[in-house]
Symmetry: C2
Subunit: 825 residues, 2 copies
């Protein structure tokens, strides 16, 4: 049985991570009813609330849709049936209730197709002042099992397994259909009653709170009035919070223990707490009296929910305007952002945003695949996101933040162990923490310069005067098109670009020798090598420029190719010319983004060229820095891009994906040799660079979880058999087709990245280009794909655990759009 | 009753935040027994475990101490009594059990003094192989009430209120005393059984999980085997995690629902799950049979706990060495840090670290007041820390991280609203987010330079060639001794110092006009003004140099003083000289830390001087930047230090305390005028600076909570009546006494900061000085005060909500140490 459960668990994981793509209408107030425990009266609360809503003599609300997605003990137990039978009886005596339909068909079905509609539906007519008001109550059970046990056990005993994705899509379909119930005459309210407590397993084993998380419906928490009920109510409340639910009201039965009074006090200013009279325990009591007696409380509940709903919608509607007025977005020309193009992100679940949009005058909550991985940070599927949420709560509860120098704490130490045993394996022995990619780079440069100075005797005389030292100019060796961050030190290590103009940073001067690198890409289904002007390539035959496959590109047999000779000559020539030109200037560090230049436009640099660069610098005792801020942690399909290059650095920088994509943290990882260059008996030779939150516990804890998660084949199903690389995520055929489109100039597909450069000339190309604008808009608005271009380069980026199917789905959308893309000039 | 509860709640809050200062022994395995709910069998588990421990025929464990801190329904219900009566009966028949004492005195006492020891204690002797082994069981109830309700209700009905601090200190005393039980002959195990569920209220209303949080004992969670028990067990588990507890085992009764199987699968690789046979429901059953039947399970529990304990101790013992070997601490000369001086921080609770130390060969967990507020970041008391933990879980669960440009999400927007309505009130209208103080400064500089260029026509011609622009040199106006961060751009804005040497950053040149500021401090109980050489002060009388009070220093009547004339002359003279010296160099921004220069040595700059600087720059249309990274958010007793200066900036930078001190986040806040300078129809004029985690949801959520928490008099009891400043936190008399000590050269006390400069000369002064080293060591080791000096400057820093009593306690320690400080040269 344990084995079966473990298997079920693995299944559950897979299901939960499957993407969810239904848009949900938002105009109708829709609430999930969760329970602090079983038997706390979720169904009674639903019934009382439904009655309270239908009792209103005005036209609105005009209908209530009650859904019980998972029912066990059926048909003897049927919460939908209970509401259907009891609610009409609760309406005022003056009400003329007319039954329209009472289909009692068991709508339980483990089949993949939703069953034919079989709601229990009642319509009522009110004689209001002068006119008759029609009200509708529809109650539906989506899946049911006979035994009165938890759904996961019922499935085990009766079969009829159902996947999470199916429960969700059927529920979503019901919610969408439900819109029509009101017949355009008034609000429809929708209530979804969950099964058991907040963390009770559903049919696949996924907890209730996780199963419904993609909807993130506002929640009514039915608390527990019994002895111990304060504890179970507050714990359930926290379990919901940890999944990012908003709790709109807590309601519980009075069992004489004043639990409500305590909860009212504890939860004040957070959520309204309502108390119901004791529920009669006599099983023969049909609860009609109790429900009438409770009607004023349900009236208050209705008001609280109504007010919650209005505030929510009002806020959502105001967010575009307010954000335009108060925020200052980075890398954004505000004049080019119309108010109605601001994306309101209500939440995220795994790889998708949940965005608020008004489409055809309808307010909707729409999932959008986050195809830029939120600036290349994202790794979590929905399971990892939940795990990280729990870990973040734990880290904050245990440590908050504790300072780092001369101290040890578990998350920082454990993270260092994982880094040194992973991306730093076989070469690194020290971890220096900071906050983001830019700071990690500034630290790396300081380390490299010190190491260089140390190795080349520049600092031998510690009494040397400042003036003398300042005459020595240390520079970096770097590549054209590289990008290492936005702080001045990081910028100085990159070649001039749009980012570095006087307008942007008057202090930028560009302290480097910047080489032109050869690049690799796919065009017309062929893997091509492109050499810059500066590399003499008269002798490179057309055949040399076509490489049979991407795998071959990385193959170190190329080290003895003719291209290797060309590269080596170019590199050593450049370095020699430079060193001849000045006695006081030294190339004191090599800094490269291994394999892929990100912000520079998603260019794949010929790995052979980078390998030879590293080799040449090693010979000259120039420290080598790998900027793995973008490329690290499986971004390119391997944990460290140095595995692709086939050579190792002295210093490497990590950030972005390191925490899984939840919170900023960076690490500069180095050899012991670099560390040694800072040791002495004086504090003045120590590396005097730090940030207040250095090695903060939450960031390190997230990194510990994420690093392990990505490496573990039981959590990362994309790992290849040898566990050393990810399976192909972007369908090779589609990639090839894309590369053959007439308006595509190149494609780069590696690991979690697939980049497509659109053919463009003049001002249509480059970073400031608005060329792809309407394409982007189509993808965002019509394909629910959140894309942000780099000028005329469009890219898709997933997480290391994203299901291949989902990648294919997104890439197909892009293919369709680009095939028919015809920019207006 | 509601009012009473609300009052109780306020009390609870106060109590929970009161500091906790007992050192706890760590050698004895000590576990807290929490329940997923009431009635799940915590006492039976404790009994079974105690029996299992005592049954061992070896000498170790030699004793079990069972504590029930809070008992209701007493004396009819006495869990301690149950263990005391039942456990001996469970030991093997061969055991010769001898009762030593059976004091049944009610140890309930609401008085402040712990009652005389009245344990129920039993000793047993085993006839082992050859020799007799003595075992001891001691069972104690600490507080008891008659009615069988939750302790908070019992207090309401019976009186006998007891404060959290008393429960904790009595419990701590018992745990310390318990060490002697073993008589040095074997391990003592200690079990603390909590009351009700994990979140059940204690006598003051504080939840069980919060009440015992300062101990952060490893936890046994007794799960729930009943229907709904999976949910309540997992929710309870999460409630414990949110408080930073480590759960060493989950154990639950089998009620035929296979809850254990599901939990085993769900919690695998996290925590062992054990299942007990069904507990007989017949009240006449004395459970002896059940307990014997369960003995093998308790044996497994014992093993799991033993292994947990050993791994914990082993890890704690290895952390100093491993950290020394793998980590690279910022601002730290590793050669100067002996392995045994590394502080192992196990957790934090409010203002205190919990540090692991071996003292006199005893392993201890020792609270240390974090007197450097973890590099000036800290604000949380233990209540806020808990709130932040919950919010961090929620933010991660709801958003993870979502990208920012052109998007809106609630935490970023709400945080911006709070910033603009608070620190930015009356002047600012835009918020630019980044990751830390350094990045906020780099962004501020870019903003100021653009604004300056815009206002002074430098960028009128957008086609102007790069070369021309590069000829223009923009500089900052800044103060000697200032510090704005460690990235190159931030460093360039500060005067040369130890941090900026060639050794540290060969690219540093110091792009500023750096003025010498006058400073203010307390010496010999007098508030003194100290003018630098560069300001002509021949005419300033000795009387002018003594200011009657600190309040007077900030008074704007000084604007018409003679000092004001001197300052103005100096400032305008310096600026004029500078602008004459070059046609291409411009002072394009003023950047100051308002009132206090932090890293420069905790110097208070004469606010009059800074006010006049701002005025002069306004006249010259030079944008003004306030670096409030250190001074912001009540650090100096007011929300923004600009309130102290009496003037406003164009741009201000915030970080550190903004998130309450939990996670990195920074904001650069500006006027609309600055924002306008970046608007055009081209992306190239937009501010092209950003970090991947810009406006990350967790940071913004933390800031939203912290900003509100500090401002709200119901959560921040330190707020003055007008809610605009903090009450005096550092006792004025003590501060004056300190300032009169012969080895103290100056004291600065403002808001949450109290800095003391020790008299020192030559290499004993300044950043690299090790002068205060032995003093620091004494404070850390003997006074449990975590202090980190800035050279010969020692400072204490608390949070905006820290209780004044606690501040006085810490400052007294420092006073005592400094009075007797006699450094060896």
């Amino acid at each position: 049985m344990l084995r079966r459960l473990l298997l079920a668990h693995a299944r559950r994981r897979r299901h939960y991570s499957s993407s969810f793509s239904s848009a949900l209408p938002l105009a109708s107030p829709t609430f999930a009813v969760f329970g602090a425990n079983t038997g706390v009266g979720k169904t009674l609360v639903s019934a009382g609330l439904a009655a309270s809503l239908l009792r209103s003599p005005t036209a609105s609300p005009s209908a209530v849709l009650y859904l019980k997605p998972l029912q066990t003990g059926f048909p003897a137990d049927s919460d939908a049936g209970f509401l259907f039978r009891r609610v009409p009886a609760l309406l005022r005596p003056s009400t003329a209730a007319r039954l329209v339909a009472s289909l009692d068909t068991l709508s339980c079905s483990p089949s993949l197709e939703p069953p034919p509609p079989s709601p229990e539906e009642a319509a009522f007519s009110y004689a209001g002042e002068g006119e008759t008001v029609r009200k509708i109550l529809t109650c539906r059970t989506l899946y049911a099992w006979r035994e009165a046990v938890s759904p996961h056990l019922a499935v085990e005993r009766e079969g009829m397994a159902v996947e999470d994705a199916h429960v969700r899509s059927r529920l979503a379909a019901c919610l969408v259909e439900g819109e029509d119930l009101g017949e355009g005459e008034g609000e429809v309210w929708k209530l979804i009653e969950t099964a058991g407590g907040v963390a009770s397993p559903g049919p696949s084993g996924t907890l209730q709170c996780d199963l419904y998380r993609p909807f993130r419906l506002p929640t009514i928490l039915v608390g527990d009035g019994r002895l111990g009920g304060i504890s179970s109510t507050l714990s359930a409340y926290e379990t919901l919070l940890l999944r990012g639910y908003d709790i709109s009201a807590v309601i519980l039965e009075d069992r004489g223990l004043s639990n409500d009074m305590f909860l009212l006090s504890y939860l004040r200013n957070r959520v309204p707490v309502l108390v119901l009279p004791p529920i009669p325990e006599d099983p023969s009591d049909d609860l009609t009296d109790w429900l009438s007696e409770s009607s004023s409380v349900f009236g208050l509940l209705k008001d609280a929910l109504q007010s919650f709903h209005s505030r929510r919608i009002q806020r959502l509607n105001s967010m575009q305007r307010k954000s335009k007025d108060l925020l200052w977005w980075p890398f954004t020309q505000h004049n080019l952002v119309p108010v109605d193009s601001v994306t309101v992100i209500d939440s995220r679940c795994g790889e998708s945003f949940s965005t608020y949009k008004v489409k055809d005058n309808k307010m909707m909550m729409i999932p959008q695949f986050d195809a830029c991985a939120s600036w290349w940070t994202q790794g979590p599927d929905s399971n990892l996101q939940m795990e990280l949420a729990r870990d973040m709560g734990y880290a904050a509860g245990r440590y908050g933040h504790v300072m780092f120098p001369e101290n040890a704490h578990e998350p920082a130490l454990r993270c260092a162990e994982l880094l040194l045993g992973g991306v730093g394996k076989d070469w690194a022995s020290r971890v220096y923490y900071s906050d983001n990619g830019s700071t990690a780079i500034e630290i790396a440069l300081k380390m490299a310069f010190r190491k260089f100075s140390f190795d080349h005797g520049i600092l031998l005389d510690s009494d040397k005067s400042m003036t003398n030292e300042r005459n020595i100019q240390l520079k970096v060796l770097a590549l054209q098109g590289s990008y290492h961050g936005d702080t001045l030190g990081a910028m100085e290590a990159q070649a001039p670009s749009a980012y570095t103009s006087f307008l942007q940073q008057p202090w930028y001067s560009g302290r480097g020798l910047f080489l032109d690198p050869p690049t690799v890409f796919i065009r017309n289904e062929t893997c091509c090598l492109s050499l810059p002007q500066s590399i003499q390539h008269g002798h490179l035959s057309p055949g040399d420029k076509c490489i049979p496959s991407l795998a071959e590109v990385f193959c170190n047999t190329r080290d003895s190719s003719y291209a290797a000779d060309l590269y080596s000559t170019y590199i050593s020539q450049q370095l020699s010319e430079y060193s001849l030109s000045s006695n006081t200037e030294h190339v004191a560090a090599l800094i490269i983004e291994p394999v892929i230049q990100g912000a520079g436009g998603m260019h794949m640099i010929d790995p052979l060229f980078q390998r030879l660069l590293v080799k040449e610098c090693r010979n000259r005792k120039i420290p080598v820095i790998f900027d793995e801020v973008f490329t690290g942690f499986w971004r390119l399909g391997v944990e460290s891009a140095s595995e692709l290059l086939g050579c190792l650095p002295d210093i490497a920088c990590y950030a972005k994906l390191m925490t899984g994509g939840i919170v900023p943290l960076a690490a500069t990882v180095t050899t012991e040799g670099v560390f040694e260059a800072f040791k002495s008996d004086s504090k003045l030779t120590a590396l005097l660079h730090g940030h207040s939150y250095t090695a903060h516990a939450m960031g390190c804890s997230a990194a510990v979880k994420a690093i392990q998660w990505f490496r573990d084949p039981s959590t990362n199903l994309n790992l290849d058999l040898d566990r050393k690389r990810l399976k192909e995520l972007w369908d090779g055929t589609l990639v090839n087709q894309l590369s053959s489109l007439p308006n595509v100039s190149r494609v780069v597909s590696l690991g979690t990245l697939c980049a497509i450069e659109l053919k463009a000339e003049g001002s249509d190309a480059g970073y400031a280009s608005l060329y792809a604008r309407c394409l982007i808009q189509q993808l965002r608005e019509e394909d629910d794909l959140y894309v942000r271009p780099l000028g005329n380069v469009i890219y898709l980026m997933c997480g290391p655990c994203t299901a291949r199917d989902s990648c294919t789905e997104q890439l197909s959308k892009v293919y369709r759009r680009i095939s028919s893309f015809n920019p207006v000039h």
